[in-house]
Amino acid sequence: MILKIENIEKKFYDPVEFKVLNDISFTVNKGEFLTLVGKSGCGKSTLLYILSTMDTDYTGKLTIDGEVVTGYNQNQLAAIRNEKIGFVFQFHYLLSDFTCLKNVMIPALRLGRWSAAEIEHRAMEKLRLLGLADQALKPASKLSGGQQQRVAIARALINDPLIIMGDEPTGNLDSKNTQVVFDILKELSQEHQQTIIAVTHDNDFAKASDRTIEMMDGRVV
């Protein structure tokens, strides 16, 4: 077991009080490829932000890698995100003033586990894996949305995180590239025991994953 949530609830108060997540509990095993599906507005993104430790405004308990992180302070959570979680966002991808390569390198430079030369080498590997080696030195802002999303995936992989989370990580990709990304994620979970939690609208994508959790109106069905 790598991640566990117990009785997660969250409310929004603006414009009116509204319970967006209602008593959600589940566990995710190490190396599992999990997909989250559900209609738009059912609370998938909100849940994923809580799982990723970025949103701390909830009730319930979140355990990551054996540590109860609920109640941790912002610095502790930042360290956990840096080391253990890779995240691919729904629309916000890259730092536009940097090259693709630099974008991929930044989380590793923050972590400081490897030398700069090693990090650059690793970053090139990840870009190659996603078919972007030739774009490495381009400024991030010069890439198409699909390419940017793939760079963001490469960046999520750079620190060999225990968990990779994606909010529609293939939402901007054509079927060929969706297949490429799916295969990479599958391989990471099977061969490197990395855990994948991905929100998706793509039924084929969900069906091919190890497990699918369906949500409706803030509950797990």
């Binding site: 993104s45 932000y49 990723s52 970025m54 949103d55 912002q74 610095n75 930042a78 360290a79 956990i80 995100r81 840096n82 080391e83 995240f87 966002f89 729904q90 629309f91 916000h92 991808y93 890259l94 730092l95 536009s96 003033d97 940097f98 930044i106 989380p107 430079l109 923050r110 972590l111 400081g112 960046r155």
Partner: protein
Amino acid sequence: MRINRNIAFTYFWASKRMTVVAILGVLLGMSIFMFMNSMAAGFDRASGESFFKSTPHIRIYKDDVVSAPLSSDTTTRTLIINPKVVPNKVTIENPLQYVQLVKQHPAVTVAFPQVNCPVFYNNGQSQITGTTIGFPPDEANRMYNIASYMVQGNINALAQNQNGIVIGSGIADKMNIITGDHINITSSRGVNMTLAVVGIFKTNNSKEDKSKSYVNIATAQQMLKENGVFVTDINVNVKDPETAPQIAAELSMLTGYKAEDWKAANEAYMAASRMRKIVITFISFTLLIVSCFGIYNILNMTVSQKINDIAILKAMGFNGRDVVRIFVYQALAIGAIGVILGVVFALILVQALQHVYIGGDIGYFPIRFEPWVFLRGILIGLFITFLAGYIPAKKAAKVDPVSIFRK
């Protein structure tokens, strides 16, 4: 961490035009701050120098005593009191012993007895009124640096000639006298003397030049019909003029006579000098602070432009302190460049003004490179820069990434 600096410099280059404007702002503020403060320091030094050419740091003299009523009992009897200055002699008893005593104080550099004597310089039918000052010429020269404003002759010649006199240039002009001539003077006590002019001085105060002369102390005592222990003042210089008030108090305790420091003696001068200092400090600080608004402005803009970046960085594990550093580094980079260029520009201004001739008693513009002023400017400049960066950076550190991603 290096990556924070790295990101900071990328942002630094990303908005070139605003960066340049911010640097120019700091440059101007810094250079004018340092220039104005150098100027203030220069004015103070110049006026201090000319001031101490005729004023000792401390003057010890016998103060007038006002008569006290014979009885202090004012309740039972009716007393008619008529306080008056006691008609005592203005002399200091045992002056040489006191001079020795004063000289033993560790802070004292020069101390000598002085006798002032009102005189008339006789010029045929007309007379010029003035004062002749009797003192030991060697020590007086050490205190007032008389040699620096001698225009003819030599102050040391006075020590060798007991009948010598050094006169102001105004007197010399009026009486058409040059060094080597003789001058006839009459004292307020009616003593008449003919003395040999061994030198002529010219200060920056034409009134003094038209009335003042220097003689040996014995000559002044003779003119007052007094003996060799008659001394009206003991003049004292100390190592640091700023400490004169405390030392004056100590010397007063030591000798029992009144010891007046130069600040107390020249309240009007001190008030004007304080006023000047306050005005210059206020204006230069205001300029410095205003000049750092450029940094505040650019940092605020960068923070709001890069709010998406900040959210991504925080999601990837950068904490609040990292974010603060990124923006403070950016501010400090701008500030440091501005400060360095500001120092260079201030040096150029100081150099240029040093060669401007004002004339009068000022001569060349009294400004020079003041290491302390520059050091203080650099520290204050960097501190304000830091603040100008820190305030927006703190705002950036508080960004909640989730609220950005939801948009």
